[in-house]
C-alpha cells in the first residue's frame, strides 16, 4: 500500500519543500519567532499519523496558533501560498481525518486550550477547541454538571476534534452525539473570515449552519471556539451486567428493553473474544466462558431509576440471561464500565495490530450481521472481535492482524470494507462516530448516488472553492463502489433478499 498516494496526489521534491517552508516562515514571522511554527523533520515526525496508524504521511510544517487571530493569519498565509491545511486536535481520530497531506501544513489547535466561560443559568460552557472532552466535565462537575458525549478517548481527544467528527460515546441513544449537545461555534473559514454561529438561545436565525459544520471533518472551516450544552448529573445511575449463551440472545434482550418503553443511558454488548481479552488484560470481574455480555445503565431521578431497573431485570431474564450482576454503587458501576472501556487496548495484547471498524446498523439486523462477519472472518482468515454500542446500533468490529506479516494489513482492510458494505446493505451507514476521513472515502459511493455526492461536494466548494482545508478527505477520488472486491459465494451477494440503496 502506498499511503502517501492515498493522502492526495500532491507530492513535491526536497527543494520545493524547503522553499515553501521558507515562504511560510516569512509569511508567519510571529509564529516562527515564538516556536509556534515547526519545520524540522524531527519535530514533524510526531504528526505523521493520527489514531489510524496504518496511514502515514509527515506534513511540510506544523503551526501551533494560540488565538483565533493567529489561526486566521495561518489560514490567510496558506491560502496565498496554496499550502493545504489539515486541522489537528489530539490526533486520536480513527479514520485518518487528521492525516497530513504531503505538501500541506498541519494546524494544531492544541495550544488553544482554555475554558472561556461557564454559564450555569443557561447550562452551557464556551471553550477553545484544544480543550479535552473530559476537561469540560471536570470544569463543571463540582457544581453537579457534566458534558454528555463521552468517547472512550475522552481523556485525550479535543472538543474541536469532537465537533469535527460529531463524536459519540456510550450514552448516545439517550443523550445524543456532539451535534445534539452543541449550541454555538466560532470558526475561521477558508478565506480567513471569522464567523460566529449560535449561542445560548436554543434556535438561531437563518439556516442551521451549526448542524452543517458539525461532523464536517475539518472541510468547511477551522473551529476556534465551541459552546457546549451541559447537563445536570443524574440523581441516580445504576448498571447491570447480564451474560448470555449467544450474541443473538443479548441482541434480543436489547430489543425487549427498548420495546418496554425504557431508554437506558447506555447499552453495550461484548462478544466472547472481547470478554476474554478484557479479563486477561485488567481482570474486572467479567464471567469467563460466556458467549456475550450485555451492560445496561439506567440513569435519572432515583424513583424512576428504581422502577426501570426492575423492569429491565425482568426483560433480561425473559431474554435468557444466564447470570445477572447489579452495580448500585458508583465504584461497582465504574468497574463494570472499566472492562468495556479497556476493550480496545486489551485487543492490543491479543494481537499485534487491530483495525477498528465503525458501521451502524438497524438493531434488528444484529444477529444477521454478526453471523456474516463470522463467515467473512473465516474467509479472510483473520479473527474479528465485536464490541457494540447496542442501544444505538453502532458496531465496532475489531479486525485482528499482524502488520509485520506481508499482506495482512491489506487483508484486514479488505475485510473491513466488506463489513462496512454489509452495514450499508442492511440499511445502516459507513460510519457511526469515527468519520470517513481517508479511510472510508472510497466507500462513499456504496451509500450515496452521484447526485447525493455532487450536492455535498458543491456545498463544500461554496465554502472552500480551492480545497484548502483538509483536501482528499471524506469525498472519494474515484466514484466506484469498489464492488469488484465483494467476495461472491455460489453466485450470491451477501443478503440477496435485502434491498440495496
Amino acid at each position: 500500500m502506498d499511503s502517501t498516494e492515498r493522502a492526495g496526489p500532491h507530492s513535491m521534491g526536497r527543494h520545493q519543500r524547503e522553499s515553501t517552508r521558507k515562504a511560510l516562515r516569512k509569511a508567519l514571522p510571529d509564529l516562527a519567532r515564538s516556536g509556534q511554527l515547526l519545520l524540522s523533520d524531527e519535530e514533524l515526525a510526531v504528526y505523521e499519523c493520527d489514531g489510524l496508524a496504518a496511514y502515514r504521511q509527515a506534513p511540510i510544517a506544523v503551526a501551533l496558533p494560540a488565538t483565533t487571530q493567529q489561526v486566521q493569519s495561518v489560514v490567510i498565509a496558506c491560502g496565498q501560498l496554496a499550502v493545504p491545511i489539515v486541522p489537528w486536535g489530539a490526533g486520536t481520530g480513527l479514520s485518518g481525518g487528521a492525516l497530513a497531506v504531503a505538501d500541506g501544513l498541519v494546524l494544531s489547535l492544541a495550544r488553544m486550550n482554555r475554558i472561556l466561560h461557564i454559564d450555569y443559568d443557561h447550562r452551557c460552557v464556551t471553550v477553545e477547541p484544544g480543550v479535552t472532552n473530559l476537561a469540560v466535565t471536570h470544569a463543571v462537575a463540582g457544581e453537579g454538571y457534566y458534558y454528555a458525549p463521552d468517547p472512550s478517548s475522552q481523556i485525550a481527544c479535543t472538543v474541536g476534534g469532537n465537533v469535527a467528527e460529531n463524536s459519540g460515546g456510550v450514552h448516545c441513544l439517550k443523550y445524543g452525539t456532539t451535534t445534539n449537545n452543541l449550541l454555538g461555534l466560532q470558526l475561521v473559514l477558508s478565506d480567513g473570515e471569522i464567523v460566529e454561529l449560535g449561542g445560548p438561545a436554543l434556535e438561531r436565525s437563518g439556516f442551521d449552519l451549526l448542524a452543517l459544520f458539525t461532523g464536517s471533518e475539518g472541510l468547511l472551516g477551522i473551529i476556534t471556539q465551541a459552546t457546549l450544552r451541559i447537563l445536570r448529573t443524574p440523581e441516580s445511575s445504576q448498571a447491570m451486567m447480564a451474560a448470555f449463551d449467544s450474541v443473538e440472545a443479548a441482541g434480543g434482550a436489547v430489543a425487549s428493553v427498548i420495546g418496554s418503553g425504557i431508554v437506558p443511558a447506555g447499552m453495550e454488548i461484548m462478544d466472547r473474544l472481547s470478554i476474554e481479552a478484557v479479563e486477561d488484560f485488567i481482570g474486572c470481574g467479567y464471567p469467563r466462558g460466556v458467549a456475550a455480555l450485555l451492560l445496561v445503565e439506567i440513569d435519572g431521578p432515583s424513583s424512576e431509576v428504581a422502577a426501570q431497573i426492575e423492569a429491565v431485570e425482568q426483560c433480561l431474564r425473559d431474554a435468557g440471561a444466564t447470570q445477572l450482576t447489579h452495580a448500585t454503587t458508583t465504584e461497582a458501576r465504574q468497574k463494570l464500565w472499566a472492562g468495556r472501556k479497556a476493550a480496545f487496548p486489551a485487543m492490543g495484547r491479543v494481537s499485534p495490530d487491530y483495525y477498528c471498524m465503525d458501521g451502524t446498523i438497524p438493531r434488528g439486523q444484529l444477529s444477521a450481521v454478526l453471523g456474516r462477519i463470522e463467515e467473512l472472518s473465516q474467509i479472510f482468515g483473520l479473527q474479528v472481535a465485536n464490541v457494540f454500542h447496542a442501544g444505538d446500533g453502532n458496531l465496532h468490529p475489531l479486525v485482528l492482524y499482524d502488520g509485520n506479516k506481508s499482506g495482512d494489513l491489506e487483508k484486514a482492510e479488505e475485510l473491513g470494507a466488506e463489513i462496512l458494505k454489509l452495514c450499508v446493505a442492511v440499511g445502516g451507514v459507513l460510519s457511526g462516530e469515527h468519520g470517513i476521513g481517508v479511510e472510508k472515502r472510497d466507500l462513499m459511493p456504496c451509500m450515496f448516488t452521484d447526485d447525493d455526492l455532487d450536492l455535498q461536494e458543491e456545498i463544500r466548494d461554496t465554502f472552500d472553492p480551492d480545497h484548502l482545508l483538509n483536501p482528499g478527505k471524506v469525498y472519494p477520488q474515484l466514484r466506484l463502489c469498489a464492488e469488484g472486491r465483494t467476495h461472491v459465494h455460489g453466485g450470491q451477494r451477501p443478503f440477496p433478499e435485502l434491498d440495496r440503496f
Binding site: 436554543l202 448542524a211 461532523g215 456545498i459
Partner: protein, 392 residues
C-alpha cells in the same frame, strides 16, 4: 399534473393558478428540473397549516404553486428500532395516532397550528413544543431526508440510524429552512417511548423577577421536568413526565422547595400543554402574534420592553427560552428591534393569506447572511425554491 381542490387559506390568485400536484418524488423532481430551466419560481405547500409563518414577499410573475400533499404514506415503521419513515405529505395526525398505538411519540412535540399539518411541513418549519429545552428540537429527531434540490436532483442525506457521521449533516440543515434549500419528499424520524403519565404543577404567583429565578433553578433540578412555562395571569407551571411509580416522589421533592398551588392530573395536564404548544389563546385573539427565541435568563428584560410598547398579552415557554406575544391590532410593534436588544430572534406571524409579511423573519448580519446565501446557492443555484420565505 392535476389541479387541486380549493383550500380556504389560499388567496384568490393562488386558486386561479394551476397547482401542480406531483404523485411521487420523481415526478416532483421532473417539475423542479423544468422550473429550473424556465426559471419559474416555485412555492410549495402540503397541508398549508403554517401559511402564516415565514415571509411571503410580493408575488412573482412566474410563480408556480406545488402541493406536496400527495407524497403521503407510511414508508416503514419499526417500533423496536425507534424509527419511522414517512412521505412528506403524511398528515401529522395520522402519524401521531400510529405512534400512540405503540406507546411511542415524536419527542419534540410537533406543533400542529392547524388540523392539516403534515410531516414535511413540520420539518421545513421546525417548530417544536414545550419539551424543546429538555429533549431537543425537530433537528434532533430527524435522522435522514430525501429531497429534491433546486436543480431537480432527487437527493438522500442521512440514514435510518441514530449514529451516523457519513457525509455532511444536510438533513439537519434542511430542517427549519422553509423549503428554500430543497423540497422534502421523505423523512426518517427518530422516535421515543411515550412517558406513561404526566402531571402539571401550578405554582403560587410571583413577581416577574422571582419567577425568572425560580424557572432557571427548576431547569437545573434532577427531576424529569419536561415543561416550564410562565403566564402573567397564572404564574409558573411545571410538567413532570414518567412512570406511575416514579412520578410521585419527584412531585413531593419539588413541593418541598417551591409553593405548589394546584396539581393537574394526567388529562388536564396534557390539555394544558397542548394549548400552550399550539399558542391557542393568542392566535384566536385579534392582533399580531410575535415569537421570540432567546437565552432563557433574558425573558423578563424582553417582557419589560414589550410592556413599554403596550404589549401585555404574552406567555413564556421552554423554561424562559421562548416568548409568544400578542400586539394589539392598532399597534405596530418592531419585534426585531426589541429582539436584538436581548439576544433573541423574532418571528412575526402573518394575519391573513394576503399579508406578505415581509417582516416575518429576522434579517441577518452581513457576514452570516453571506454564509447562509452560500449554502442556498449550492442547494438552489437558480434561487427558485420558495425564495424569500425563510427571510433570506
Amino acid at each position: 399534473m392535476e389541479a387541486s381542490a380549493r383550500s380556504p387559506n389560499w388567496t384568490a390568485s393562488e386558486v386561479a393558478n394551476q397547482i401542480l400536484r406531483p404523485q411521487d418524488a420523481s415526478q416532483l423532481a421532473g417539475f423542479v428540473k423544468e422550473a429550473a430551466q424556465k426559471q419559474t419560481v416555485l412555492t410549495t405547500r402540503a397541508g398549508n397549516s403554517k401559511w402564516d409563518l415565514g415571509c411571503r414577499g410580493s408575488k412573482q410573475p412566474t410563480e408556480q404553486v406545488i402541493s406536496l400533499d400527495a407524497l403521503s404514506g407510511i414508508v416503514s415503521y419499526e417500533p423496536g428500532e425507534l424509527v419511522l419513515v414517512v412521505g412528506a405529505g403524511t398528515p401529522l395526525r395520522q402519524i401521531e395516532q400510529l405512534l400512540s398505538d405503540e406507546g411511542q411519540h415524536l419527542a419534540f412535540e410537533p406543533v400542529h397550528w392547524r388540523d392539516t399539518a403534515t410531516a414535511g411541513g413540520t420539518v421545513a418549519v421546525g417548530l417544536a413544543g414545550p419539551r424543546r429545552f429538555r429533549a431537543g428540537g425537530v433537528r434532533d429527531f430527524v435522522l435522514g431526508l430525501q429531497f429534491v434540490d433546486g436543480q431537480g436532483r432527487l437527493v438522500r442525506t442521512g440514514g435510518r440510524v441514530v449514529k451516523n457521521v457519513t457525509g455532511f449533516d444536510l438533513w439537519r440543515g434542511l430542517t427549519g429552512s422553509f423549503g428554500s434549500l430543497g423540497l422534502i419528499t421523505e423523512i426518517c424520524f427518530k422516535l421515543w417511548p411515550r412517558p406513561q403519565t404526566q402531571r402539571t404543577l401550578l405554582l403560587a404567583r410571583q413577581d416577574l423577577e422571582t419567577a425568572r429565578r425560580v424557572m432557571l433553578e427548576l431547569a437545573q433540578r434532577p427531576e424529569d421536568l419536561t415543561g416550564i412555562a410562565f403566564a402573567p395571569h397564572r404564574g409558573v407551571s411545571l410538567r413532570l413526565e414518567g412512570s406511575d411509580r416514579g412520578l410521585q416522589p419527584q412531585i413531593d421533592a419539588i413541593a418541598r422547595d417551591v409553593d405548589v398551588e394546584e396539581e393537574l392530573p394526567q388529562i388536564e395536564s396534557a390539555n394544558f400543554w397542548s394549548q400552550l404548544r399550539e399558542v391557542e389563546a393568542l392566535r384566536q385573539s385579534s392582533g399580531r402574534v410575535w415569537r421570540f427565541v432567546l437565552p432563557a435568563g433574558h425573558w423578563v428584560a424582553l417582557v419589560h420592553d414589550l410592556q413599554a410598547a403596550q404589549v401585555d398579552d404574552y406567555f413564556v415557554d421552554w423554561g424562559g427560552g421562548l416568548v409568544w406575544a400578542l400586539a394589539p391590532p392598532e399597534q405596530t410593534l418592531d419585534g426585531h428591534r426589541i429582539a436584538e436588544r436581548h439576544g433573541a430572534i423574532a418571528w412575526r406571524v402573518a394575519t391573513s393569506p394576503d399579508d406578505p409579511n415581509e417582516l416575518g423573519m429576522p434579517s441577518l448580519e452581513p457576514g452570516l447572511k453571506r454564509l447562509n446565501q452560500r449554502l442556498r446557492t449550492a442547494c438552489d443555484p437558480g434561487g427558485i425554491l420558495n425564495p424569500g420565505r425563510s427571510g433570506l
